[in-house]
Symmetry: C3
Subunit: 345 residues, 3 copies
């Protein structure tokens, strides 16, 4: 759990000239290439030795105090400003941050107060922190980190270079591929919500399946991912889940999706590739979300519904334009009714 204690917008990085940074980014200097930069910050707070980025004129003005601003081709730097012009300023800025404060690999080692079963297999360079538990026959790949008090269930496989933060719980039957990041408090492999009435009460449908988290997935704090009832729950390569997201049993999510906070996806729903889901969206059981769909915040997709590529919003989720027209029509209706009401008095 080493981290950013020496970074942050206030901390100093190794100084470079604007010219050196422009060369590193393959960008063009506008203004003074000799200016020294020893840090990065947001547009609002960047000071004379710090760099930031701006995608539009307004943000560039907000960044008036910055020593240098990374800007896109169309933007005018303005008199007396020093800028670096690149095709993708935000991506370039990320590269600068990675250069200024390179991620420090946590020190490997097994804390004497961790509990590792003798049949578990640990790759080289792993770090297992205090009070973590690794159960029988589990495998942890090379370079992975298991935070304080995390639990890796019996027989689980954790790939290489994974980062599992404190207090994560992986029930048995869970596989993480490589470079998976799991934030604190996440639960993976809990029982799905499945019951059958036996006439007297709800009888538990045995939850016997598994979970596979593919490579390069990131899962936000306190999210929950249920195991399959039969078969598996699967999150595709490169998909990112925000905090407090709920994934039901047997859900399949494709590759390179973004799922914002507090969204819930019900049992057996299928989400395609490159889907963008905003916060607090609900997708009910057995719904199918096609490749490239975007769902606006707080949308609700009814059970079994199939959405093809497009932008949707509302409850039930409808094409965004349709929702906007309906909202406008309703506002007009209420306004006219109000006017008639006043006229009648």
């Amino acid at each position: 759990m080493k981290a950013f204690e020496e970074s942050g917008s206030g901390a100093a990085a190794e100084p470079s000239s604007v010219g050196e940074l422009a060369t590193y980014l393959g960008g063009e200097v506008v203004g003074d290439p000799g200016r020294r930069i020893d840090g990065a910050a947001s547009a609002e707070s960047a000071g004379p030795s710090q760099i930031t980025f701006a995608l539009d004129q307004r943000t560039l003005e907000t960044a008036a105090g910055a020593g240098c601003v990374v800007i896109p081709p169309g933007l005018q730097a303005g008199a007396g400003r020093t800028c670096i012009r690149v095709p993708q300023p935000k991506l370039a800025f990320v590269k600068l941050l990675e250069r200024m404060w390179p991620a420090v690999a946590p020190e490997p080692g097994i804390d004497p107060q961790a509990q590792v079963h003798r049949s578990a297999r640990l790759g080289s360079g792993v770090r297992i922190e205090a009070f973590a538990v690794i159960e029988a026959e589990a495998q942890i790949g090379a370079g992975s980190v298991l935070g304080c008090g995390a639990v890796v269930g019996r027989g689980n496989r954790v790939g290489e270079q994974c980062r599992i933060y404190p207090r994560v719980v992986l029930y048995p039957g869970v596989t993480l591929q490589d470079r998976v990041i799991v934030h604190a408090g996440v639960v993976i492999g809990s029982d799905g919500f499945g019951y059958v009435s036996d006439g007297v009460q709800a009888r538990k449908f045995p939850q016997l399946g598994t979970v596979v988290i593919e490579s390069d997935v990131e899962i936000g704090a306190n999210s929950t991912i249920d195991r399959g009832a039969l078969g598996e729950t699967r999150i595709g390569r490169g998909t990112k889940l925000d905090n407090l997201v709920q994934i039901g049993h047997n859900v399949r999510i494709g590759r390179h999706c973004l799922v914002a906070a507090q969204t819930g996806i019900g049992g057996s729903a299928v989400v395609g590739d490159g889907v963008i889901i905003a916060g607090q969206v609900g997708i009910a059981d057995h719904a199918r979300i096609g490749d490239g769909v975007t769902l606006g915040g707080k949308s609700g997709v009814p059970a079994g519904r199939f959405l093809t590529r497009g932008v949707y919003w509302g409850v039930p989720a409808r094409p965004l334009d349709e929702v906007k027209r309906q909202l406008a029509a309703l506002a007009l209706l209420a306004k006219r009714r109000g006017e008639r009401g006043r006229a009648a008095k």
Copy 2:
């Protein structure tokens, strides 16, 4: 935290003939009673030695690869298929799963790295895993399991055959009756959200009450249940809560309810028996939900509202038919307005 490592849809169970399974279920064989079955799987993935179930013709066709399908009376098996016909196929399938992969009782014992207060009382056959904490005067009933790092607060009573997964926290003042299942990361007994303005700031209303979880309740991962402010919060027998559910202080939920993921129930709300609440529903403070109510996904019940038996949806929650009529009327209004707009051009 032993579990399903040898189960799952891919694992082999003790083989039986279709005839034996039909006898076990009290069902009728259609096709070949001598066919060997050594596993169960979903309709999509079941293979020639596996059994599945189908409630309708389409699922039966999906299950074309299955060795045997459990079907209801009205469904035609089709030429060459082997089926078992029973009145309730899903319930029968659950019984088969329980027979094929019987739940293994976790091995009893107290991990030497658990911390059990000397005044705590443990029943026979309990299992206390590593880094769990049992505080003074708490009681754990016979056969119950306390997972890694779980905390049972001072004076709490946990009944018999309870299953408390890793990292659960029970504040003091919490009672679990028998056969309660609490998934990883759940918090029970935290302070309710109660404040009184003293003119300068919000002053905490002391949260002095308790929580009672009745028998056969199951609580999903990372859910939170607040203690009563005064008096108790109570979840009735046989009720099931999904993941990330929030239950406020002094809420009373009746028996045999189902509450899906990310639903929140506000302080002092009362929910009757046999209520079904879909995902992401919000029930505000002091609302009363009558016996047998069904609330559709993302519904919102305003504070103090009283709903009698029926099906409700929307924000605010209204009878389902009414909501559907309103959605249809709005769609028509917007469409006509659009047509008039185009006609005027």
Copy 3:
């Protein structure tokens, strides 16, 4: 994790007379000042030796069994009742609860099974419970409590008289000022949800910032608060967050706000002072919520929207009166359409 084991509405407190309690509160006795009171309870359950409070006639009648009721100036006590009249009955009742069951300071000490780094600095009278972890250079102020299994990251500063419940995780870069209460399972300082497409996949925007929780903040169970990407995430003095609340990176929340359960606030949103946010509200990225705004349950504020003082509801959030008029207009429209439909048959 000591707590209320000797309190609760059923437990007896030191007895006092109604007259003594009225003097303590600066209130006026109606009825019998000599009546003995040894406890407090809700209006529904208070018995003849217990006190409760009522703000209206109906609650006063509900409290018929109570030995004494704290009431406001306008309310008539009724024949044979004993009451104490004060300007603010609920606040007075809180003062009585604090007097009857004063908060017991947890016993200080460091559990031998906690892991405290030798470079950490602990103030006087701190309590560190079993399996808690304090990393290098962290500071814990005087009188603070760190519950079982909680993690305080490298270099963090926790102020005085803070109460951190079990299983809380503070990533590095987090500051808690004084008297902060953090309930079980909360995660503070996790990475914000920030990615940039590099043309092939989502590349992580480094999350290098910090979190500051000002004094007298309370954070409900299993809530999550992300660190700033650059710069900080900040929760202002006296603000209270309920359970399962999500706060994105670089959010700033003002002073003395109340944020109910399952609400989510997106990245870089700004919330003013004295804002009241009901349950399951969503505030999207970069929205600005002015001082004194009230947001009704399940409201949704779109990205970048600015709301000034007022009461709002709905998705998108609109002035409450406007939403009510629109709901009424829609109900009328659907009703008339239904009547025309029936008339046409």
